[in-house]
Symmetry: C2
């Protein structure tokens, strides 16, 4: 077994989930994540934690959902009791076919999901962490060889998280103290100002200690309350199964007043029409994971890529808001990513350049002018 699988398990159990002796840990083993499951089981044994392994299989779930009458019982007691008592839930995703649910009726999926709200809440109330074991299917979706994709995933996962967390703290301090974030590119197609005073940035350090639940992670995000200007999002995204390319948004008084897309305009249009909040931004996120060196069409990796910034149309995260304040509300949260590496690109906070051409000002190679 690849040594990196054991390293991954150790990062997951220690850095991310902070598992202690005696903890009750549910491990959800994806169909293609067996090897990581074995490594995690070993890591949990070593820490004298308690282990219950569940099987997270898109094929089982597809068969179940297609056959079911559709009238799902709400939060079956046996499963709810399990998650209510668990200390941690580690989801080892690793699908063998990213299209496995392609022929499950959407309303069946939604009915199943609606019937499981308390189970979901119970799971989210634990020290849960979701991670990814590289599979051939996921390599295929990323357009990469299996070997290259494994390198890609482990470069993203096996960081020095402690030192990355320190670096993120610097950006958080800047954002917490700041009022206006400006994103500019030389071509003027991107010159956007986001207003963030009073909002709190969150360090997504891939650790439950920072309320960050995905491994890999590596982004600092906040919730703008107003936006003006325009931006082009040149990193392609997959939204509702369709590819969005070169999205351009124009904001006035915080609202999208004009837009176009090089590809996927239909989907973008329908996202924007969802509700009032879908035309406003809910998130400004700054990617800080230097292990992620290219977009792969998988948003959980793409949005963490150092040298990118993402903005999300729709719902804001509560953690960014002052007590009692309501952020942007919407049924959607759709991330759009822009690449900051190009010459003449800057990220400024209150007029100070924080990042130029994809390099933070505290990094080697930062160009003073």
């Amino acid at each position: 077994m690849d040594d990196r699988i054991h390293e991954h398990a150790a990062v997951l159990v220690d850095w991310s989930a902070r598992v202690d002796a005696g903890d009750d840990v549910v491990v959800r083993v994806g169909e293609g994540a067996h090897d990581l499951g074995v490594a995690v089981a070993g890591a949990l044994g070593e820490r004298d934690a308690n282990l219950l392994a569940c099987y997270d299989s898109p094929e089982l779930e597809r068969a179940y959902l297609r056959a079911h009458g559709g009238d799902f019982e709400s939060d079956p007691d046996f499963e709810l009791a399990l998650y209510e008592r668990a200390d941690s839930v580690l989801s080892l995703r690793g699908t063998r076919n990213t299209s496995e649910h392609a022929d499950v009726p959407g309303d069946r999926e939604r009915a199943y999901s609606r019937a499981r709200q308390r189970i979901r809440e119970a799971r989210l109330a634990t020290d849960w962490v979701s991670t990814v074991h590289p599979t051939r299917a996921m390599a295929q979706e990323a357009g990469m060889s299996y070997a290259a994709y494994r390198d890609f995933v482990y470069d993203a996962v096996l960081r020095d998280w402690e030192s990355l967390a320190d670096e993120m703290r610097q950006l958080k301090e800047v954002l917490d103290a700041g009022s206006e974030v400006r994103i500019r590119k030389e071509d003027d197609a991107t010159d956007l100002t986001l207003f963030i005073d009073g909002r709190t940035a969150v360090n997504s350090t891939a650790s439950v200690a920072d309320d960050s639940h995905n491994l890999p992670s590596g982004e600092v995000f906040t919730a703008p309350y107003d936006t003006a200007g325009q931006a082009v999002f040149d990193v392609p995204m997959t939204v509702r199964g369709q590819r969005l390319e070169d999205v351009r948004l124009v904001f006035k008084d915080g609202v999208v007043v004009d837009w176009e897309a090089g590809a996927g305009g239909d989907v973008l249009g329908s996202v924007l029409e969802t509700d009032g909040g879908a035309k406003r931004l809910g998130e400004l996120g700054v990617g800080m994971n230097r292990g992620i060196d290219r977009p792969t069409g998988q948003v959980l990796f793409d949005e963490k890529m150092a040298g990118t910034v993402h903005l999300a149309l729709g719902r804001a995260y509560d953690a960014c808001l002052p007590d009692g304040e309501t952020g942007n509300d919407s049924a959607v949260h759709v991330d759009l990513i822009t690449d900051m590496h190009r010459e003449g690109t800057t990220l400024e906070v209150d007029g100070e350049v924080v990042q130029r051409n994809g390099t933070f000002r505290w990094e080697e190679g930062f160009a003073e002018v």
Copy 2:
């Protein structure tokens, strides 16, 4: 997917576990039992039951047990709560390596098992059923090709269980009314009498409705209280990893007074020395599954083979005993099997021949004299 896998799932869910709409069903999917897991998930969906899939992986368990310090917490709450609330637990065994636990220290296994007594009891209090999905590893252990082993398993599992249950009822009536069971072979090396009056036979019909929890099943068993004579057990058995061949036991007043073995004498000797009850019989079982046509070294199949009788040294099952009576007690329960097919072999109850040369008297081909 082989149609027989879907038929297996239907037998398991309907005949064996009697799953109803709304039941909370834990499905424990063995490492090599994925396909049966998918079929069972579909069958449960069709019946509007609730499904939670667990992952029963000898590799995960090995890694966990080897790494653990050995001081296991008793009955971790989250797992206990799950099984206490489940209506059914379906174990789909299907290992990819029957030797996977070969390097797990025995005391570690025993300590883990001891710490989980209430969890085990909670599971056994449900409508649990254990079945087997044929894997290459199990075919290998049976000394068969994978294709032939699959045929073997499905022949054993896909019976007309309703009509087999009727047939078993006939034998149960004979045994319940009877006092003495005599097993004789022409060579006189086997002439054994077992005393059973007052004892109740159990029909092992592979259905929770008959308190029978293994699929396949197909045996009728009772608990003799006394035994006299001798018998040779000519079907090889694997006990504690060692092969036992041609075991010969001599009984006087219910106790083994002399014994020998063609192979595995060490193991048999140590079994007999376990405790007082290990030298007495706890079970007389009569195989009735005509789908099982050869021994494979897997006791759950071998002991069900029609035309065999098995006797177990050690512990008796409570279900066979009158209320308030204690049967033979022992820490062991070791089955030994004798083939009844040979010319001149009879199974008699109170002097009446019930089976001759492996054929029951209600079957076609039964020789009257």
